[in-house]
Symmetry: D2
Subunit: 354 residues, 4 copies
């Protein structure tokens, strides 16, 4: 099978770097182009990517000339992964979709648009059908598919099986988020050394509204938002990668911590059944250790490293009816961003949208 | 007025060090003795206290010979501040109370005993009346008075005015706790570097039950526990001092963030009216900055540094009826431990128990 | 005595903030103006200074309107403290000196110019005489006086008494420098978390050449550079404030660690004799602890906090003839920058240059 | 070829864990036993090893029952890797060697004994011949072979090619050492958060004397110490793994940074020629980046991750005759400890001592 040629838009940042790593030896996709802002275009990738990963810039891409981020500059690609800042993506992504590209985007724009599929393959793979709605409505030959915010993905992966097994009425989530979520220069060391910053711009809105779409029902051309209430408090801590989230859930019916652990640990979904290359065997790993999940360990969890989330400390919640609480931790840039978009593209391929 | 002679039991640890700092120039109390375990007894204080504060061991105490922790070894003192490990305090504190000492203790034992006053002077000063119950029941001439757990104190300070103004039905609290809470050698650097540890032994139980007593009503010889539900999730982050807590509160009636800010910011209580030396003018400082409170700043807040807590990011909670959410941060070893016990003793003195 | 009106140029950065703190209650100087870049001019100081210190922006300045950095904008001041970036200072400082202002500057430009006094008051107060040379040569009524680089100051304070007592032939210095030295946004947290960055742009050149001027002899209109060799290796570590330096010194004659400790500990100089307000009683504190100096403690050392440096671990050097080695640590922004410039101005005042 | 059965003595600590990882799929060695202190013996490995590595305890060993550290308890092994504390190793290792075991030890005892080979396979493989001297002198059928201290190994790897090409007269080394060097609980987080500890017990002595033996000449039954002078200053910084060292070297003859880079980058030695399984293709990697080597990257360098050291910032030294200075960084627990001992054992096998 010939590989599908792909490009990464906005390839030099932290998310872009993980895209590169995930795509270099991908069995279905072939990385043919990397783009960045005007300032970086024309230079070698190794020169402009402030590589933060602990290994070297992969040889295969180190010498590649970075292209400008423009639909006309990536015509050898068919599928585009977008790690652009939202303001740029807002303009460039529609132009790309109109030009016929499939855009699998991690950027935060358009996520709540009714005809834009917002997908976690284990959670709502059927929402991909919105692609047809989107194409018809907008007259595009390509399309735009989104993955959610990193913090959203990590805990919504656990809500899917809980919702199916017990029902979910309300959720409180309090996050301890990694530095990489803000981008390479996002958090000055002087701001976070020996400190916590209990605020992340626009994060709580995303974490409160995206799950309602993700867990909503596709009815005809629309997603009916899930009938639950979500409240988030988002905080930055001095950790390089890996978002840790304390989750308090009001279930629809009583369930013991053991039952919850069973349901979470056994969870498999379409990406597992389809054996998508970037899908971990177990999207949720339940740890029995009393002090897990910790980001230094959980961020690399899974048969595809960084693609599983780890749940621990499942216990009854004394303040909620049918309440449980637990911790969940996952790699914010892999499962929460680049890996999410790659898995979405793999699902599109498996479902013949690509 | 002659000063009251006081001793610190368990003076070498992190809490003990803050006791020393708060007591050295205290207007009412005179520090006459420091005790520690057998291993340290007989040595100079500066030698055995692994001083973690950023200034030097105060000259006044550096050369003091540490005594063994024993009622017979501190007979020149009348008031004892206890920073002992709970297991030791369990045995030694009753012996001290029986021997006639007033014990103001930060140790976690006995806190929930019905005849032991568990006090935050701004929250429930009237509970001191349990001293009489305790003495009668146990036949002691001295007594034991407790302050709560550090995490408890920080957010319960904010619950008091909310309860009085609006009622409180349920509370969810998710903490990001400082290293000093575990003691000097409590958290190895290899455990927490580039990491979060989302577990603190026995912490959540304390945080869920102590507030019910603190906010309860003294009725005759008993405290009737407050009729509210509390759920806690406690986590350690790489910060030296200062506990940061995300709090979600179901109020008894609707209140806007502005009303809540007003009530919290105006809060004054008995310690302020009595002008107790260690009472901050404002026990709660409300910050309007979008990214506060942060522990590096909040931990020194207040007219008595470290004795005020800082509240920020007050906003509506979308998942609770009459819900609000906010962040609160305070110094876990000052307001949350040593300063708490000193303030309790000042209240006792002002109320003539001393 | 009427206070001398002073302004801080470049008042919003980390050095500017320390200038503000040191000047607010200064006995000789009165802070009348704060300047910043065009972008910040016209706004309130509290709004534009990203305050990193652990206390609040002082009330006295929080509401002050920041002025543009321009000689014409600070005419109510006589003395200017400069914390400008070197490129700007290069242009603005001469204009100020020409306009008659006394400029006490921390900026790195001009430091090695033959007619610019580069001063540490404890090391070479007599070099102030270059002011007359400078004025004559340049036709200025004002003048420019510089303090050295932060890393330079910390160890050169120790070289002065060693040179006088034993002679100094060569010096190797290996630094572990704090984040604040790079400015608030200088080091991204993602760059330094769980890491060391063993490079600081242009730092080693300064550290190797400035001491030769500081320890040189003023002969007529020129400073004859000190006849010693210095080699530096400069490195950034995850510490907020406080530069720690490992120093290996080849002395002119044999001296035991005890002799060296004696000479360093007894060191007093002109600022101490003149009782300058910002001069610490002991510019060098010798610690006998086996594991000191550590930046978390040493950075606040001295009777004027942050103005003394702490020396520890003095021992023979086995690889140098007459060699000794030791550690020295000092606050890079106080003793190494803002406090240095304030002390220089105090010396100028005491010596009637002001 | 049948694999050689091996055991790890002291298998639960940080060095022990790396031994386990390196040995699990080793082509020549088969891990048959893990030992620990009495307290841990009899328990499952996963239960007693406080696993600090970012992946899980390998399945192959998680369930293994830990044995007591005793020659009689590992009779199914022929080769023993020792990660015991020096005091224990002092007693147990001779007993093992007498009982006929080959002991490849990372413990610091005996390293300077004249008849104990202290080996870095790239530096002094011929010193293995001391095994015969040792056996004859002590009447052992087994033997003890040591690798040096972690800090020593990292920079001595660079001295070997410099000595051969240019001569080396004196060396100054200033280290920034990782937390893992002190063991899991060695450095409390409260000691090192926002701090540097410029002292490591007994480290400088090792770093100053071990290189003289390593670079010395084997003459008959003795090693003649290398005629050079070494001075060390050792410091702990908040980094998990990877020692960074600033090195100043007085060469025997003038060499430019380019020549030095050439000699270091081309260095290969016996382990490379023998293609030992744990030998990296290039023991020294020279980086041209202006701000490398950094431990977060360098600690995983090499074709066998963690077994190469990275050199950067090679420049002339202005204070030494024929002086150069540079940075070198390597993984302290892999190249500096467990990997060092494994490579020593591979050399022994290749040289038929095993």
């Amino acid at each position: 099978m010939a590989k599908i040629p792909v490009a990464v838009l906005g390839a030099t940042g932290t998310v872009g770097q993980h895209f590169v790593k995930l795509l270099i030896d991908h069995p279905w996709f072939e990385l043919v182009a990397l783009t960045a802002s005007e300032r970086s275009a024309g230079k070698r990738y190794a020169e402009v990517a402030k590589w933060y990963l602990s290994d070297e810039v992969p040889e295969e891409v180190a010498g590649i000339e970075v292209r400008p981020t423009d639909p006309g500059a990536v015509e050898d690609a068919k599928l585009l992964f977008s790690a652009m800042p939202a303001e740029e993506a807002q303009k460039i992504e529609p132009a790309c979709a109109e030009a016929g590209y499939i855009v699998s985007s991690n950027s935060s724009n358009f996520r709540m648009d009714p005809d834009v599929p917002l997908i976690i393959p284990e959670v709502n793979p059927d929402h991909l059908a919105l692609i047809d709605v989107q194409r018809k409505r907008r007259g595009w030959s390509g399309c735009i598919v989104k993955n959610p915010n990193c913090t959203t993905i990590v805990f919504v992966l656990t809500l899917r099986p809980l919702l199916d097994a017990f029902g979910v009425k309300s959720v409180f989530v309090s996050s301890m988020q990694a530095l990489s979520g803000a981008g390479y220069a996002g958090v000055p060391s002087m701001a976070i050394e020996n400190n916590v910053i209990p605020f992340i711009a626009r994060e709580e809105d995303k974490v409160e509204e995206e799950p309602l779409k993700l867990l909503g029902k596709l009815e005809g051309k629309d997603v009916r938002l899930a009938p639950m209430r979500i409240s988030a408090s988002c905080h930055r801590v001095p950790v390089l990668d890996g978002h840790t989230e304390a989750v308090f859930v009001e279930l629809g019916r009583m369930a013991s911590p053991e039952e919850v652990a069973g349901v979470l640990g056994k969870f498999r979904a379409k990406p597992q059944r389809l054996k998508l290359p970037t899908a971990p065997e177990h999207p949720i790993i339940v740890s029995n250790a009393q002090d897990m999940p910790q980001p230094r360990y959980a961020r690399n969890a899974g048969s595809v490293p960084g693609m599983a989330v780890v749940v621990g400390r499942i216990r009854k919640d004394p303040a909620l009816k049918n309440g449980i609480k637990y911790l969940v931790c996952g790699h914010n840039v892999i499962r929460g961003a680049a890996g999410a978009a790659v898995l979405n593209a793999e699902l599109m391929k498996a479902e013949s949208y690509l």
